[in-house]
Symmetry: none
Subunit: 235 residues, 4 copies
DNA sequence: AATGAATGAGCTTTCATTCAT
DNA sequence: AATGAATGAAAGCTCATTCAT
């Protein structure tokens, strides 16, 4: 039986431009997932928590997958918006990179279940390759490239690598580091800013931009509290 | 009635606490997962394909989760064994890093569904933190650290980062790059060796070991065929 | 698709916290159990016979246990209601006791499988002590006590026993007698009224109320047909 | 597939005359049932605890039912043996009845799970009527009748009831009283001897043998501690 | 006599999704 | 737009019992 929500076209179209109802549902779902763990939340649970009937919920979201996806995208959107702001307003390369790293780690550690959902239900979902999620992500993720382009002139020459690959290399590493912290339950004690500072150095060197590192005068790490121990890991 | 799993009964010596047929079952399950996609394979399917009754399957693997986990670990084990061999037999840092990267990418692209399963059913599974999978992974993953230690004396000083963090940074990046290739369906055309060569450079610089890069005479990239296009990514 | 349980949908007003269809399901289940024997009736069977899907059945009854319990309680309730009526309307002690006995025996012999279910799945079920069944039974079973109190002034003095013990003593004996008749397959030929008459005498004497037996003028045993043989038992 | 234990004929034959092995198994099973609750003990558990393989266990007991039944019968046998001894050695009617009651209650309260098993798996099992259990029980249960016959001459005349019915009436009542105590978890505080004394009176009166009650001089209740409260019940 | 792996029927249960109202 | 009862496929899992060795 095909979904018949052809009527409610406005809500369905692309991503974004949803009514207020949807936003509310998404918020509720997000909280529920975070609180109880995604696999322990049924559509009925979401409907109940949102004060809707199950049927009505399905007017807004065709599938369970639809719902998780949109929940994920809301989180991702907020994340990316902030990353873009950071990239745009950075006053130098080093600080920008450092802040992007710190922001990414902070996002993950602040909402680990959300990240897990993203990993499991979106990134590693069957058929992710052809999903709207990828399109959305693609459209979101230009900021890093733009940021690099603004501060580094000849990235290609320095690394021989496409910007998109660099982005994967960068975010892949950061996310894995963050994930290990989550998995090891060290989120509380992990010193994000200290780590970000060091990681920024590493990535700048990686990209052959270390010389920029020579004038880190403007670099104002948000916190000076650099506990070296906070970077130990054993995963 | 005697087992009639004449098909795939390789009978490797007792793995774990269970009988000898395990290996055969794991192989069958692995193939099935790869062919049909994990979520479309039921325990009954596996049992059937292995020439076993469902009950017997449950004699070997307590849960569906148990089975995926073990399938994943077999793949991971093979992967790591080879990585350890590479790390052990490397004749210089640059080549070693390059070969590790190439191996990792090759593993992923050769068995993308396996990697997806690893991502989704193990790494991002509920309670992974406390699962035996993590223990296994932990015990497996010393080779990279050992490798670095052999070739680079003062890594800590150069990066300010724990070796475990460096490992996450390294493999996180590589895996994300590989995943993008998979998702974009470019596995066929992707030039692994060319990418590995460049990425090795990047990571060596990242770790402050670029000077080692000064005698890359022995560095014989397996292939010179560097198609620039092969590294484009947009995931 | 609308429910098509056209068969047995009596639709008594909402029993318990669930919808109105309950009563119909209970009736169907009861018949099924009686016909085929409880252990040979699966939830699927009940669903089918009730014209429901299995899932729907589980909307009404959480467990198989839930269902048996409720089926049992319906039967018990009817039984008790009638017993209460008898106790309330009895015009003298002897007749009342006799009629209670006859009613109890008649109930058992009329629905032996139901009684067996009660015995096995409720009374002797694991954790019966803490089950709602006991609460229900407790709340149901005041009639006997009330009845005794109305007709006999100083029961305690006469027997030295608590009324609740007397009730167990009374019903335990009667039920065992009835059970033996069932087990020996003598239900058809057993003369309930004759037995009840004699048993009433015995219990009155037991309770020290035999003097009441001195004016049994009003005692009109429903039948005079006392086949002595009908009381033989050897269980 | 029919059981092929035709070989081991000796063990199978009637009930009684079992080898030492069986006795050991029965003992183990009994303990296991008592400790864990019958429904939580599988045949495999019994085999393990008995130091046997499952297959071997089945050489001794054809069915699970077979096993429970025999476990029950062992307990019952011991119970009956003692009851017979009591009946045989009683020096007067009142004491004999009292001691039989006390013994029955004591047996139940000492092994409530065993009684539950008896109730559920034997007495209320499907097809109990045709089972060897009934035959066994029948052969066991002559002591009460014999006892009555020894002390009371004209029971039939006094009650109009068959001895077998009297036995049901007697034991049914006692067992129900004991069961209530078990279910209400009052086994620890219940004063068996006090109850037995009073109940004996009641049953003697019931059977029209109260005059015998006139010389209860010899009645030496095992304990004088008659807590009236111990007989309260509310089940 | 003993073993214990293999069997496989059977059961309960969940939940995403639909659709008559 | 909203409801929520109904759906029913699917899956995981247990355990008494068998039988080749």
């Amino acid at each position: 039986m095909a979904p018949r929500a052809d009527k409610a076209t406005v809500k369905i179209s692309p991503v974004g431009a949803w009514g207020a109802r949807e936003a509310g549902i998404l918020e509720v779902a997000c909280k529920l997932y975070a609180a109880r763990g995604y696999e322990r939340v049924s559509m009925a649970d979401v409907a109940l928590a949102a004060g809707l009937s199950e049927g009505t919920l399905y007017n807004y979201f065709h599938h369970k997958t639809d719902l998780v996806l949109r929940v994920s995208l809301v989180a991702l959107r907020a994340n990316i918006d902030e990353a873009e702001r950071i990239a745009r307003t950075a006053t130098n390369l080093r600080d920008g990179v450092r802040d992007l790293i710190a922001h990414q780690l902070r996002s993950m550690l602040a909402a680990p279940e959300m990240y897990r959902i993203w990993l499991r239900e979106v990134k590693a979902a069957e058929g992710y390759g052809r999903s709207p999620a990828r399109d959305a992500l693609r459209s979101f993720s230009g900021h890093f490239t733009a940021f690099l382009d603004r501060w580094a002139t000849d990235l290609d020459a320095r690394t021989g690598l496409d910007r998109a690959v660099l982005r994967d290399l960068f975010y892949g590493g950061i996310e894995q580091i963050g994930w290990t912290v989550i998995v090891q339950n060290r989120a509380r004690t992990f010193d994000i800013d200290a780590a970000a500072l060091k990681l920024a150095s590493v990535y700048l060197k990686a990209f052959g931009l270390a010389e920029t590192a020579k004038f880190p005068k403007s670099a104002k790490p948000r916190t000076r509290l650099v506990k070296k121990s906070s970077l130990n890991a054993t995963s």
